[in-house]
């Protein structure tokens, strides 16, 4: 579904930003403008790494109204499955493909004020959001936690661009902590809060928000889960009449794509629900790793999110 609308791009510029973080400027091969997007959107980047096709989602960090190119930032992750390591090997002039932009983390434009809470590389969607808020003359504040001054990306630029009233930085190495309760207790009615960063940080901020009496409608988060590794297993694709093996470092979706079967997907991180697949029969245990299905749905074992979930057992047949 998503495959035919991919956009071929060239890596026009690579900028080292901070320790282990590179920024990529991606321009269309055909010279046409990129589609406009809404702040908070991501693209799925397709990488041909030898015989392996890798697809990873990255938040768009350039200004949403700038159609000359897309910009993403990539952190080299320890124990990378290969995507971020690949992005740290490529050079200017190399070609990639990106999906159409998809937004699972949009700003609520009805808000009177917006609080952005970023941890580490979780800053990227907020770069686009701040550009949009600033242009729309909407009140916002960024609270940005980083490991250290050298690990943190863009904080000097942001302080310079938006000023210390709107940009607050916190460095773990210096013992700083985001004063979450003071922030939550002093916002005008109609404020929205957005958090992007490590899973523990997201959970902590959302819980603190609810405990401070904030409605869940005003609390927003984005987390992408990398497909976790595990023991290889076999699956049966009923419509394609194919039996395939999902490798240790592969997701079901990746294994299906490698076998030439086209399955729908959007976020590839267990969040959006696009790759929901019907389970026809299941003799064993599904390891549901997504945050999309409800606990009841997970217990029923009739649906699986093939981008992140795995299987242990004798037989798993999917409607694909």
């Amino acid at each position: 579904v998503s495959i035919n609308t991919e956009i071929p791009v060239r890596v026009a510029k690579i900028t080292p930003v901070a320790e282990k973080i590179r920024r990529f400027r991606l321009e269309r091969l055909d010279g046409q403008p990129m589609p406009y997007f809404s702040a908070g959107a991501h693209v799925v980047v397709s990488m041909h790494d030898g015989d392996i096709l890798r697809r990873n989602p990255y938040s768009l960090m350039s200004a949403p109204y700038d159609s000359s190119a897309y910009e993403i930032s990539v952190l080299a992750v320890e124990n990378s499955r290969g995507g971020s390591a690949f992005m740290h090997r490529i050079s200017e002039g190399d070609e990639l493909r990106v999906s159409q932009p998809v937004n699972l983390f949009p700003a609520d434009h009805r808000g009177r004020k917006h609080i952005l809470i970023a941890g580490g590389i979780g800053i990227t969607p907020f770069l686009a959001m701040m550009a949009q808020f600033s242009r729309d003359n909407v009140a916002f504040e960024l609270h940005y936690a980083m490991r250290s001054r050298t690990h943190g990306a863009y904080w000097q630029d942001l302080l310079q661009q938006y000023g210390p009233q709107r940009v607050k930085t916190y460095f773990d190495a210096e013992g700083d902590r985001i004063p979450l309760n003071a922030i939550l207790d002093n916002q005008p009615l109609g404020t929205h809060l957005y958090v992007c960063g490590p899973a523990g940080m997201i959970d902590g901020v959302l819980l603190a928000g609810l405990e401070a009496g904030w409605p869940r409608e005003n609390l927003h988060s984005e987390r992408f889960l990398a497909p976790p590794p595990g023991q290889p297993f076999k699956i049966w694709l009923e419509q394609s009449r194919l039996s395939i093996t999902v490798g240790e470092h592969q997701s079901i979706l990746e294994a299906i794509e490698a076998a030439g079967v086209d399955a729908p997907y959007m976020c590839r991180g267990g969040a959006c629900g696009q790759c929901e697949t019907t389970v026809l029969s299941c003799d064993g245990e599904i390891e549901h790793n997504d945050i999309y299905l409800s606990d009841e749905e997970k217990a029923e074992r009739r649906k699986i999110m093939i981008c992140v979930s795995r299987f242990k057992g004798q037989q798993l047949a999917l409607q694909l």
Partner: protein, 201 residues
């Protein structure tokens, strides 16, 4: 004559006090007072010390609901003479309120809609505001032709109080206008409208 299944028709799920809220603003009209009184058991002194209750008797004049509300012992109890004066006060309270403040609304649909309109204009999310319908079924209706709003409509069709057209009252609701939509029913042959039915009393 009402078309069933129109999605914009509001539903009211009842008001329940949000335990984590730092402040509660409770806007009540007429029989809406009972929606709060029936929760008296849950209203601990701590919750009441965080409550601002705004009340307008409106259609329940003489029922003395205000005496019962005042006796609850909320931090603030304020009685308004009319709906517009209550809405003015509500706007002031919400404008200065901080996140952690929750709003609750109960009364007739026209009142709930107008109080909701103020909250939405201040950026609050519709789904975060508990509402409870109490009292008459009378509707606040906008004439889609002249844009005039008629309050307390109890029958359909009815005559627009502004332009005089005969209007069919629909379930089609506008949150922005806080009104149901009324559409001319005898446009082709004026005077052939069916007799009014008392649907919303």
């Amino acid at each position: 004559m009402l078309v069933q299944g129109i999605k914009s028709r509001p539903t009211y799920r009842g008001i329940a006090i949000e335990p984590h809220a730092k402040r509660h603003i409770i806007a009540l009209e007429g029989e809406g007072a009972l929606a709060l009184m029936e929760q008296k058991a849950e209203l601990t002194p701590e919750i009441l010390s965080r409550c601002e209750v705004l009340y307008v008797p409106h259609g329940s004049q003489g029922q003395d609901h205000e005496l019962a509300l005042a006796a609850l012992g909320a931090d603030i109890f304020w009685q308004a003479p009319t709906i517009p004066t209550l809405l003015f006060r509500l706007k002031g309270s919400l404008t200065n309120a901080k996140m952690g403040t929750r709003l609750y609304i109960s009364g007739t649909e026209g009142f709930i809609g107008q109080a909701m309109q103020i909250a939405l204009d201040l950026g609050m999310d519709f789904n975060s505001i508990p509402t409870e319908h109490r009292g008459s079924l009378a509707r606040r209706v906008q004439c889609v032709h002249c844009k005039g709003i008629t309050e307390n409509v109890t029958s359909s069709p009815f005559q627009c109080s502004h332009c005089g057209l005969t209007l069919l009252v629909r379930d089609h609701y506008s949150r922005r206008l806080a009104a149901f939509q009324g559409v001319n029913i005898d446009a082709e042959e004026p005077g052939t409208a069916p007799d009014p039915e008392e649907l919303f009393s």
